[in-house]
Each structure stands twice: as C-alpha cells, then as structure tokens.
Amino acid sequence: MTITDPTSAPATTNALEVRDLELAYIVRGVQRPVLRGVSFHVRPGEAYGLVGESGCGKSTTAYAALRYLPRNGVITGGHILVDGDDITNLDRNGLREFRKQKASMVYQDPGSALNPTIKVGKQVVEAFTVLGQSGAQAEASALQALRKVQIADPERVMGRYPHQLSGGMLQRVVIAMALACDPGLLVLDEPTTGLDATVEAEVLDLVRTLRNETGAAILLIAHNLGVIRSMCDRVGVMYAGKIVEEGNAGEVFDAPKHPYTVGLLRSLPRHGMHKSQSALSTIPGTLPTLGSDLPTCVYVDRCPLADEKCRSEVPPVVELGGGRYTRCHHVDAVAEINESVPSTLRTSGSETVLQITGVSKTFRQGGHEIPALVGVNLSLNDGETLGLVGESGSGKSTLAKALLGVHSPDQGSSLTLDQHQLASTIEQRSTDDKRAMQIVFQNPDSALNASWTVRRILQRSVRKLTGKNSEATDARVAELAEHLRLSPRHLDMKPSQLSGGLKQRVAIARAFAGDPRIVVCDEPTSALDVSVQAAILNLLAELQSEQRTSYVFISHDLGVVRYLADRIAVMYLGRIMEVGTTDDLFKGPNHPYTEALLSAVPSVDGQVSSRIRLAGEIPSPANPPSGCVFHPRCHRAIAGTCDAAEPPVVEVSLGHSIRCHIPADELKALQSQP
C-alpha cells in the first residue's frame, strides 16, 4: 500500500472539505446538537479516517458529507464542499446530479443495502443507466465493474438475488456500484463491521487496490482502530460531535496527543499484551447523552487531566506541526497520563475441571444431516481461560451450547466435570452441575429480561442455583453487586435503564451467582465500545483470579483472545484445527488456517504483515469437503493428499497440536519465510 505524504500533496482543491459543520437531530420539537463544529478536509487521492466510539457522530458526519441526513436531522451551521463546490444548500436536482457524478458511498450492512427483490445484476446495471448509458452498454459496464472488484464469475453473480450471496460478496457488489461513476470521493461507513476477519481483510485489500487504480479520495469511518491505521493516511479522532485530534495516522496512533485518544488506545490490548502482565486502562464515565450541553471541552467529564481551566474555557486548537493538531489545554501533560497498572493475577491451575471427548453435534434439517461439531476433544484446567476462535459458522457457539446442555450432543460424546459424567441436556443435570457451568452472552439486551429489575434477575439466579433462603440470597446479591461494581441504585433499575457496559456486568454477576466452576463467555465484549470492553475484560480477569473460575472465551477478536486466554483452540467447520498455549499459537508453527486468521487482523500497532488470502468462502457444514475440510481454501494444500485423507492430529510441542498433513518442521520453515 502506498502512503501519500500529506505534506507533498499538490495544492489542488480538496476532494472533501467540511467546515465547522453543526448538525442537530430534532427530537420532539427540540434540537439536539450531534455535530458541534466538525472541520476536516480530504485531499484528492487521500484516505482520511474518522474514529471514535459509538454515538460520537462519525457516521452522521459521513452521511452529511454526501448531504444525506436522517429525517429528523438538520444542518444548523457550517459548510460541506466537495471538489470545491458547496453542497450544503444544494436543491433536490443539484443534489441528485452531485450524487450521480461526484461521490459514492459504501455502507455498513451490505445485506440490507441491496434491494432483496431485485437481482444483483439489475441493481449494478442501474448504477450505470442512471449515468445515461444505454441498456446494453450498462450491462457491459456492470460486468466490467464486477470484474474490477475481483468477482471471479460476474455473469453468475449478476443473476443472483442478494440473499444468495455472502456478506463479503455483497460488499464487493456495493463497492462496484459505488465506483460506477468513477467518483472523486468515496465514503465508506464501517464497511467491514459484521464481516469475518478474513473477509474483512479481503475487502480492505480490495479498497486499497481500487484506491490506487482510481485515485479516488476516501473517507473511512470505522470503530476499529486497526482498520483505520492500515487504510488511512490521516485520521481524525471524534468525541461527542467534535474532532479532538487530527494528524498523520501513524503519528496519532503511536504518540497520541489528546487524553481521549490516549484513553482509547490504552483500552486496547496491544503489542501482544497479556492479562498476566498488566491490566487494561479504562476510560471512566460514559459518553455524554445525545444532544447534551457541552460548553467547554467535550471530554472534560472523563478526562484524567481535567482541571478548572478545562471546565471554564474552550480548549485551544494546538498545532503540532505537519498538519497535526489537538484540542487540549494540557498537551504537555498528555504523555504523563498513567500507564496501565501491572497485573497481580494468579495464574491458571493444573487440575482438570472439564474434559470433553469426541463431542459431536448433528442438526437435522429437512431430511439433511448437518454436522455442526465433529469429534471435538478439549480439556480445561481450573482458573484457566480457553480461547475459542474461528470464522462465523465454525461451530464455536454450538460447542458452547453443547457444553452447557442447551443442545444435547450426539451419542458417543462424553463430557466430564470434576471427574463425573455430565448429562447431555441441562434439564437432566443436577442443580450442582447447573451452577457449575454458566454463560455470559454476547448481547446483554437479549440476555437480560427487560421487564425484571436487576435485583430480581440476580436474586432469582442465586436462589435457584444455591437454594439459599431469602436473607442469605439478599446478602449474596449485595456481595455480587459489590464485586461487579454495581451500586444499590442500579439494583432497582431495569436493564433498559442501564448502559451496555453495566448490562454486561449484570449478566456476569448472574453467571457468577452460584460460584460456577466454568463460565462460557460468548463474545461478551463484541457489542461494547473499546473503553467499556477494557473494563469488562479487567473484571473478568479479576473474578477469575479470585474465584479460580475457568473460562471458555469465544471471540472473533484475536487481540482480545490473546490478552485474556491461556490456551487457544482454533475451530473450522466444527473441528478443532489447532490448540495450544497462547504463546505457542502466536509464535507458530501454525495450522495454515490459523496462519491465515492471524495475518488477517489489521493491527493498530502498524506492523505490516504479508496477508494470506483464503480462497473462496467457508463451505456449508451440510456438505463438508473431502479429506481435510480446509483443503479447498488452503494456501498450502498438497494435491492428492489433503483432498483425499483426513489429516492426523500432530503434537508439535507439549500441549500444542495441529491437525495437518504437513509436518510441523516443514510448516515452521514455510511460515518463517517473509
């Protein structure tokens, strides 16, 4: 990828210039400010990123850049210039022409961005006919455009309906439509959120290639700092409707100069950090509610450096040279914001808590058998975290549910907890077995009963799992609340009155109600912002260290897994492809699938790793490939071997096994090459 030096950019008209943009949502007749004077520009051919947590206004800015406002949105000040033309007050026809010719957009959810009742081809063709091309011409252009976004068989894709294509494929189609008019400006709003890391990497590669080919300027919105770093030349950090810091992406991420940027970056587990080394930093407090009054510094309520000056004066724009600035009264003190605290956690034990052998799960659907889990063997020690990673559909959640007895595994599967056999469904298990294994779900909104108070949720779990009387139950609830840092005020609220982080704490408290031996964490932080995620991860680590609880930690975020897990298992199509300690896994040698997963992660640390492309898409579990199930997508597959026979499980080193035909030494040699 090429990083254009912003200082050497020619002094031409900016592809996009946003000047002091103020935007409000009208809620019940009252204007609630959302953007509070946003200014930035994107030069021709440049990629500019906007980062920030949800609700900071980055998506609103992206849509406003193309003058697309929500129904209740109104621009209350400032200007938007695209290619030098002020589009702030364009009339309907002008706006249409502008969108047709000058700028395009790629959306967050490609599945809903395409009309479900119209064939994909027709929708792509439409992007060309609107430009005035004739039917046949547009058809040819559409094929061409789909080829350009690296769709191998565009004819076939054109004849499909959106629901027949995968998320990655749909996003390519959307990109092809966006590029139809050869726009000078391409706005991408969270284009890879919701896609698997491997697919995300491919889409980002594609955007990079196309950017070089077309020279379009890019405005990229993402909450994932790694994505922004790997894609953008310059970056703006947004908080509460304002850009608080801006500059060259590398510089901002390596040496942040605003307390918020510092907080955001420190919340992430970076540089291979592990829970045994240090706890994650967190940002105290919560995002101000939409439209609240923030007269001085927008970050003042959460800032560790805030003093009287910050509360009384609007912070200046401090120029730092090279087009970099920050809005802070205390730029010089930013570097002194405390580094994270060293960890005092106990390490995992050596006593085996859970042993699962030959666990399979076959679903039946319309007479077809769909093996979702195939012969999974795993063990879990006390106080240990086992990370479970893999793409969507790899069977991670099915495995979790089989452990918990929500799904009963197939005949011949064996689950032993503390040396005794577990019944296959939850209803058949004893109360002790029930309390021994609990779960924290991904989405706390769905996991907590919306019509119960927090107190009732916790009381019920305590009583049901421990059989305590009501006095002891109340004592236990108070104890749990204290552990999870929930105040008594929170106990009397309903989940809808709590923030996402607080809800997840309630869910964790509930899981710990009966002193469980094992807690399954199914993507517990993926619905949360990074600063909240850090607090939850710290909490989970502390609880584990105190209570010797074991975790099965499912996540698609390898950074998080690397931080929290002691061992990691990699799943593909219902099978464990590799299992080993966290160190082993990140050191290698790896299964080729693991290798691809690891290389797909865009790093916020800016390490450039060569990407491994996985061919094709994850096959249907109903129809698994012969031999090694991974061979059709494997970049190291050996023809005649991998497609013929199931690979053996090879123990590379103590506790590190790989399911692959290629000998470990050979893998090691192959993978050490650049």
């Binding site: 009309n115 479900p116 439509m177």
Partner: protein, 317 residues
Amino acid sequence: MTKYIVKRVLLSLVTLWLLVTIVFLMSWALPSDPARAILGPFADEKLVEDFRETFGLNDGFLEQYFRLLKGLVTFDFGLSYGTKKPVWDVLAPTLWRTAKLATLAMIITTPISIFAGLVAAKFRDRRLDRGIVLTGLATSSIPEFVTGTLLAVVFGVKLGWFKAVAIIPEGTPPLEQLNYLFLPAMALAIVYFGYIARMMRAGTIQAMDSDYTRTAAMKGLSSSQVMRKHVLRNALAPTITVMSVQIGYLVSGIVGVEVVFNYPGFSQALLIAVKQKDLPVLQVAVIISALVYMVATLTADLIIAWLNPRIRLEMGN
C-alpha cells in the same frame, strides 16, 4: 416454487377439512330437533318422522359427517328444510350476484386506497397524511350496514342521486345496473379503504426507510424512480396480504349491506334461512364463505412468494 405451492395447497386442504369438521360439530354441540322446531309442537308424529327421514336426520353421526364431506366434492349438500330444493340450487344463483357486488366494491376501492396509502407515506407526518390516516381509521371502524344506511339516507332518499333499493329489474342494461349497485358497493368500498390505505402506507414507509432505498437515492436516482423501482414492489406484499384477508371479511360485511339495500344476494337466502330455521343452507353458506377466504389468502400467499425471491427460490428446494 412448485414444491411450495403443493405444500401450501395441501395445508389448505387440511385446514378446510378441519373447518368443515368444526362447523359440523357445532350442530352436535348444540343438539336440537329441527323437525319439531320447524313443524311445531302440535305436528303429527308421523309428519315429524317423515321430515326426519327426508332430510336424513335419522342417520348416524358418521353417516351425516361423511355426507357433508362428500358434498364438498359433489356440491350435493342435501335438501333445504324450507324450500325442499337442493341447498346448492338455493344458494348458487344468489352467490353470483353477491360476487358481482363484491367485485365492484374491490374495483372501486383498490386503486383509490393504494394511491391514498402511497400519498400518505410520501407526505408522512404532514397534514395530508394525518387526514388520510384519520379518514381510514374512521371509515374502517364503522360497520358496513351503518355506512350503507347513511349512504342510503343521504344519496338515495334525500338527494335521490342513486337508487336506495338495489333490486335490479329484469333486463336492465349492465351500465344502468351501476345505478343500483353503486351505493351498496360504495358502502363496502369505504370500509375497506381504511384497511388497505393504512397497510399500503405502512409498507411504503417501511420500504422508504430501508437501506436499499437509501442506496438507490445515493446512486442519484430521482425520487420517482426510487419509488417506482425500489419501493413499490416491496411495499405491495403486506398490502396484498391485507387485501386477501379483507376479501374474506367482505363476505361478512356484505351481508349487512345487502340487507340494507334489499339486494338479492346470498344474504337474502340467509335471512330467509334464519327465519325458516333452515340449518343446511346456513351450514353450507358458512362453509362456502370460509372457502372464499381460504382461496383468497392462498392466492395472496402465492403472489407474495412469487414477489419474494427468497421464498420463490428456496422453498422449492
């Protein structure tokens, strides 16, 4: 798709069978002696016995049940108590007159309500939209016989623009028949306007708020192109469902309207049957109108499946 159709039709047949059974069981749940009821308490026992014999009332439960099921195929539902003619012959001529009225009502109401729904959605939350929504709410909540009565009072009796009595003299040319049919058809149309317009509005708004409509607008399509190519088709599906259900309810509502205007549709036959305690006619009328409802919803489901590629392509496999 074929597999979907077959499955859907088979399910409908099961429903039909259940429904007929339910209707049949009603007469056994409320045991009565029709012969006595019709002939009166002082009728000769021999006469009563003859009556029972003629109408098969002495047959056992199963025999009567299977006779009814068989009737569904052969249209032989036995004899009417009142006229002593086959039930089907009593009902058939009235049915098609009712169908004529219902069709006219649908022809009047469908385009107007769909258009009103679209307009309301387009001018969402403005005064025009509020007006349409409120009108729809009011008209659809008033029973058909009340609407019909008021129409008759105002346009029939007071103003005299249309005939308030819909008894069409023999040999009236089709166009002139409209003069008689207009008010009853309007009474029905007014009630269905509300349902269809509101659903069309909701469907259109949903489609207009969707991400794919945003995509289309961002491509630079004009708002009328967006409406025509992207919104309309997706907005139509819920409306079709509502219309099919309304066709089913039309059967109920039409009874009141026909009575108001003395229209010789099947409600006339029904009211006579009620007076004469002619249970076979009533029973078959219930079954036939349920059948109409089922055919309407089945057709709607198939149209929707055809409009939605997800069902069309996947249900068949």
